[in-house]
């Protein structure tokens, strides 16, 4: 079981992720609706993992990722995004993301990525 912060500006996605992850035994400690808020919440809550969307108004996920990793090089940030281009995935990994899940995703796929992110 891990403590997880969900960063996504769409409530429906936050709900889907929360239910999937809680069902798998994880604890959702907080939500953020943009990259700036994700950094604030990360510092405040110190989750073991962050799921981060890319397209968010008021602060995109790539910037949020970069700032969280700068703040805490050990931070584990898993990108969960509709942008499925390898270029973007590579950019995220170079910024320190521990994984990349493309939307739409299945529960098993998401959980495997979470497991790999936490244990990798």
């Amino acid at each position: 079981m891990a403590t997880i912060l969900i960063a996504d500006d769409a409530q429906i996605m936050r709900n889907i992720l929360r239910l999937m992850l809680e069902k798998a035994g994880h604890e959702i400690v907080g939500n953020a609706t943009n990259g700036v808020e994700a950094l604030e919440r990360y510092v405040q809550l110190k989750p073991e993992l962050v799921t981060m969307d890319i397209h968010m108004e008021g602060g995109d996920g790539m910037t949020g990722l970069e700032q969280i990793v700068q703040q805490d090089p050990a931070a584990k940030v898993l990108m969960v995004s509709a942008v499925g281009q390898e270029q973007k995935e590579e950019e995220a990994r170079n910024l320190g993301a521990v994984g990349y899940v493309r939307k739409p995703f299945q529960l098993d796929d998401l959980l495997e990525h979470i497991h790999n992110a936490l244990t990798g």
Partner: protein, 228 residues
């Protein structure tokens, strides 16, 4: 298709159609993920037509359109639209907002209200006022547009190796289709080439239709063709 108006040959059109249709396989998983229900009778039709033909092809009823809009950047500039009639938007919006609560309820043969967490109960449509409900509907439908944009831009990347990104989508009511007409007029003076994807699907007993519209700039269209 009017070959003369799009200035594309049949083989060029065929290539572009094939590239974009690679995104079709992800439409059903998207709809099912967000609605938390099985989607029946899915039909996807992709056409590449002159901008001047789009309104006639779409043949939309004269009611407001719920419009999710994205600006494309990178190797292809332009605009992306996710469009629905007001009627379908309202039906889909309700399904999306209540999707997860409904899926929990369907899991057991006995009353399952107690399984629904309090935080989720608060978000159900019956507990929202009119303004909140519309905002939540647009939020959910925008996310659907966001994921569908991503699918087809990924298809474009995989087929043409073109990196195309988009700003966070915005949403608006297009009461008299003015936004749509304005976008089509602008595109007519650019590439005059519209990628129109019609999605007909049945979910929760509702027959719904949505449109994806990609309007690339001329340089972007050339880049797509030259990538062959």
């Amino acid at each position: 298709m009017n070959r003369a108006s799009t200035h594309l040959s049949e083989s060029q059109l065929g290539f572009l159609q094939e590239v974009m249709e690679c995104g079709n396989s992800q439409v059903k998983p998207t709809l099912e993920m967000l609605t938390a229900q099985t989607v029946d009778q899915l039909s996807i039709q992709l056409r590449i037509i002159p901008s001047s033909e789009v309104s006639r092809y779409m043949d939309m009823n004269p009611e407001p359109l719920a419009t999710v809009i994205g600006s494309m950047h990178g190797d292809v500039e332009g605009m992306f639209y996710f469009l629905q009639s007001k009627k379908d938007f309202l039906s889909l919006g309700h399904i999306l907002i209540d999707s997860i609560s409904s899926s929990i309820k369907r899991m057991a043969n006995e009353p399952t209200e107690y399984l629904i967490p309090d935080w989720l109960k608060e978000q159900r449509s019956e507990n929202l006022d009119t303004e909140e409900l519309e905002a939540q509907m647009f939020d959910a439908v925008s996310e659907m547009g966001n994921v569908l944009f991503g699918i087809y831009l990924t298809a474009l990347y995989n087929g043409c190796k073109l990196g195309v990104y988009y700003d966070t989508p915005t949403n608006e009511w297009d009461d008299q289709h003015l936004l749509l007409e304005q976008a089509l007029r602008k595109n007519k003076n650019e590439s005059n080439c519209a990628f129109v994807i019609r999605v007909d699907y049945t979910v929760a007993g509702e027959n719904l239709r949505a449109w994806l519209l990609m309007l690339p700039d001329l340089n972007g269209l050339r880049a797509m063709i030259d990538s062959r």
